[in-house]
Symmetry: C2
Subunit: 546 residues, 2 copies
């Protein structure tokens, strides 16, 4: 027996239509590439998105065609999420911070027909253009008059395209499982992989991320002003391009300006209440504010993801600035699968306990199944102790990657190691490729690094597994001393010995002047393993009893 409800597909265009109809006067404020503030409303944005959809049709872009974007957090970029996807085409958000060879690879791999760029990304476009095989033309996200001299062929101006169309356009309705966006994972090892979201997965993710249970604290009749400092090419600004208009929140976009003084200026000026960024951005912003004695009284919540924040950052935001920290884990392949809300009772818990819970990786959100397994695939208990490979399943989870066969068993391998608690918390312990396998057990490299960083003389720390004839692998600590510090091997090991089981203790410590880093600012452990991978075999004597 079938239900008798209306057969209406979940369409991304429905979000901007809703915003225009019911929140038409609510503002979108965006810093332009030139640095000025551009200000308009959802009522105006929907008209431009419709003009864009018509203009793409006039350019020959058809349903399913890919349109790339090499752009920062500006209002035209926001419009692409509706004009491109709403027309039935697929928006491919390209990370301009990738190496140029990677940018060329993913544009060719996704077979983008047109690529949008702005004045800031033009030099990248010019450099990769000769390597591109499918791109028929470029769209400059600005006015023709502002287009700098360039070496691209067939460039059209975005404002000219829009001016050539009226907004008399009915959004097409189609299968909600059609692709809406493509976003490539950064691919620290191997080639980047393309995650293809659908209209269905996007709407469901945006709804889940709009639940009170996901972030919490929103007041009826309040003025919520949200700002993705996360770039729009990074999980669609953590879905805020969708959740802001869906909920009628004022949307503030920082343009290309992620420097703390510019962030502070726009957050204070526009009264931002909820902003989303990775820990380093928050750290830099807080340093700037503390240095100048500044406050952001309107800011009620800081959404943090991407990497687990240091405890000191959470304490500073919560205790010194009165800003509620909402932190959880997510990935391009699975957006909206963990929620930041704490377990019942934590609101009234002592601050230190509450922060302990905030430093976990969020709690499992409705709609997604998460589980941990051991190397053989056996499911591990949710006891807050055991940790294993984290796997995910559900309608918000990637089944596979563009031009790659889907995983056979129906679970996404997240590549993370985690614990799961009985009350739904997860806690990321390590990356699967970084965990150290010792005598049939796992040792978390991250846990040892954290303990090492607690030592006042240590600036940076990285732990890798090195081959060992008896234990398979043993941990090796590679550390950078703080300027002026003279901590030695034995003192550091003594420090660690008080903080972990004896068999977790690194077999050796190697002090270096600097750690190798990846393009995305993480320690390059592949390089470390190449450099120090034979260090372990000579160090057996240092292994404690186990």
């Amino acid at each position: 027996m079938r239900g008798l409800m209306m057969d209406a597909p979940l369409m991304i265009s429905g979000i901007i239509e809703h915003a225009a109809t019911s929140h038409g006067a609510t503002e979108v404020v965006a810093r332009t590439i030139e640095g000025e503030l551009h200000r308009y409303t959802y009522g105006e944005a929907v008209l431009r998105a419709k003009q864009l959809a018509k203009a793409l049709g006039a350019l020959g872009v058809r349903s399913g065609d890919r349109v790339g974007s090499l752009a920062w957090n500006t209002h035209p970029h926001f419009e692409l999420f509706y004009g491109v996807s709403g027309s039935g085409a697929v928006l491919h958000t390209v990370n301009p911070r990738l190496f140029e060879a990677q940018i060329a690879y993913i544009i060719n791999h996704a077979e983008d027909r047109w690529v949008c760029f702005d004045a800031a990304t033009l030099p990248i476009a010019e450099r990769v253009a000769p390597q591109l095989k499918t791109v028929e033309g470029w769209i400059f996200l600005g006015s023709d008059a502002d287009l700098p001299k360039n070496g691209l062929s067939r460039v059209v101006g975005y404002e000219t395209l829009l001016a050539g169309q009226d907004a008399d356009y009915a959004w097409p309705q189609f299968d909600e499982c059609q692709a809406s966006t493509i976003c490539y994972t950064s691919g620290t090892t191997g080639a980047p992989k393309g995650v293809i979201n659908s209209h269905r997965s996007t709407i469901l993710s945006a709804l889940l991320m709009s639940t009170a249970d996901m972030i919490g604290g929103y007041r009826s009749g309040g003025r919520e002003v949200v700002m993705p400092i996360a770039p729009l090419f990074h999980g669609n600004g953590w879905q805020m391009v969708y959740t802001a208009p869906l909920n009628g929140h004022k949307l503030v976009l920082p343009g290309r300006n992620f420097e703390p003084e510019k962030l502070y200026e726009i957050m204070a000026g526009e009264g931002v209440t909820l902003a989303a960024a990775v820990p380093t951005v928050w750290l830099t912003l807080l340093d700037f504010m503390d240095g100048k004695g500044l406050r952001l009284p309107s800011l009620r919540a800081a959404l943090i993801a991407g990497t687990k924040p240091p405890r000191a950052l959470v304490e500073a935001l919560e205790n010194r600035h009165g800003i509620d920290v909402a932190q959880c884990w997510g990935m391009t392949e699975a957006l909206g699968v963990a929620k930041t809300t704490l377990a019942p009772g934590m609101a009234d818990a002592p601050s230190a306990t509450r922060i302990d819970h905030k430093l976990r990786s969020g709690r499992i959100a409705f709609g997604t199944q998460l589980r941990i397994v051991d190397d053989s695939g056996a499911v591990l208990p949710r006891d807050g102790q055991a940790f294993g490979h984290l796997q995910a399943r559900g309608p918000l989870v990637a089944a596979g990657y563009l031009k790659q066969p889907p995983a056979a068993d129906g679970w996404l391998q997240t590549g993370d190691m985690a614990r799961i608690f009985p009350d739904g918390y997860i806690d990321i312990v390590d990356r699967s490729k970084d965990v150290i396998k010792s005598g049939g057990e796992w040792i978390s490299s991250v846990a040892i690094e954290s303990a090492a960083l607690d030592h006042p003389g240590i600036a940076l720390a990285a732990v890798i597994g090195v081959p060992h004839p008896r234990w398979q692998e043993r941990p090796l600590l590679v550390a950078v001393r703080k300027a002026g510090a003279d901590v030695g091997r034995e003192a550091l090991l003594d420090h660690l010995r008080q903080r972990m089981a004896s068999w977790w203790l690194p077999d050796d410590v190697i002090f270096v002047d600097a750690l190798p880093m990846t393009a995305t600012g993480k320690v390059n452990k592949v390089s470390l393993r190449e450099q120090f991978g034979d260090a372990g075999s000579t160090q057996e004597a240092a292994v404690g009893a186990r």
Copy 2:
């Protein structure tokens, strides 16, 4: 191009599985029919729902078969929403307050194979049983030992059914558009009509009703304790049977006891933070509390729907008891289509203004399109002034009714007259069948009734349209005086004259001792029109200039 996300249907069983997995220790507390409190957890509830699903299979209930419930807000009734729907069968929630002929009609019309009842509804079951054509047997929602002597044939005990099964059951996965529940509209005119929700519409509705934008105020780490005082046969307790486990909220169920002293006892005892009920229940509860000088400090929000509350009730809840009122419109055919959150800025508005906004009928929620049309079907503006027939469209809206052809134009006729505001508020002005058509314009019967009730001498008021040779219809006010009041026709018309346009003024006032009521406690205007429908033709002289 298709998205590459996992192909996972939205299943109601996923809600209770999520609750069990991530909120397994969270409680469900329900008053039994006998009056005791039954207390268990989502972790235990899911096991019983699985046992039920297996037991239904053993009884021969197959996917798509209807299972009826004639039951109050108890924990077995809660389990039916998962055990029945989760197994692929369809739960038909029957309103025990309907006339017996209607109950027999809808059970026959839905072709229920089994009907569940409790000790309180047993007499109804016994009386309708002889009229039922498809029912093969009855399930007593209790232990065999507690089953009273009865005249039903083939009764099985719920606890016995469950005890005969283990909980080793994998919920079936099937097309999310399959039916999950059937709920009949009360049908004030004509036969009741069956609305058939699907797993898809239910999950989407529950997600929308879980958005921060829908009710607001939920704190991260808070202990939310929700209680549907709305019966579970009334829009599934306004979807709380789904939203509570979805969000991990403690669920409190009042059993059959809607008397104020029993409601107060369980709300205070269990620390209810959010409760849902129609205005009359809130009025009765407040009267009781005020009479005894009692407070409910844990209660942060009162969810009100069903009928627009009187202003005095909202003021008492907000200003005297500090309870946030969340009010909006909804109907069996469209659950979760309006949200209670106020427009931005209202949180800081003066109390009177905020209450003005709360007395509107909510704001359009994402996912549903609402519009107003005139008699010819022309769409009216969203200017907060024009009012017309309210129509709805979207995935949460009924396309039709069981065994009735769907509406031709793809819009649900809600039967209500409303205004729509530019910021998404709607305001129900009248029922379409009650609005008075005068000289090509509409007059709201509800508005005149409200104005009449503002007079200190008036206890009840009903306005009907009576035929008129020139104006087509004119309003007639039928009023009941308060005990001891001696207000007359002219005094009442003078009172009204200051509160409305002259052409809205009733042509006459008829004082009566009592108004005829329907089975669901509303004024029976059909009966009033039969009684007074010829009153207008002699009253032309009373019409003011227009």
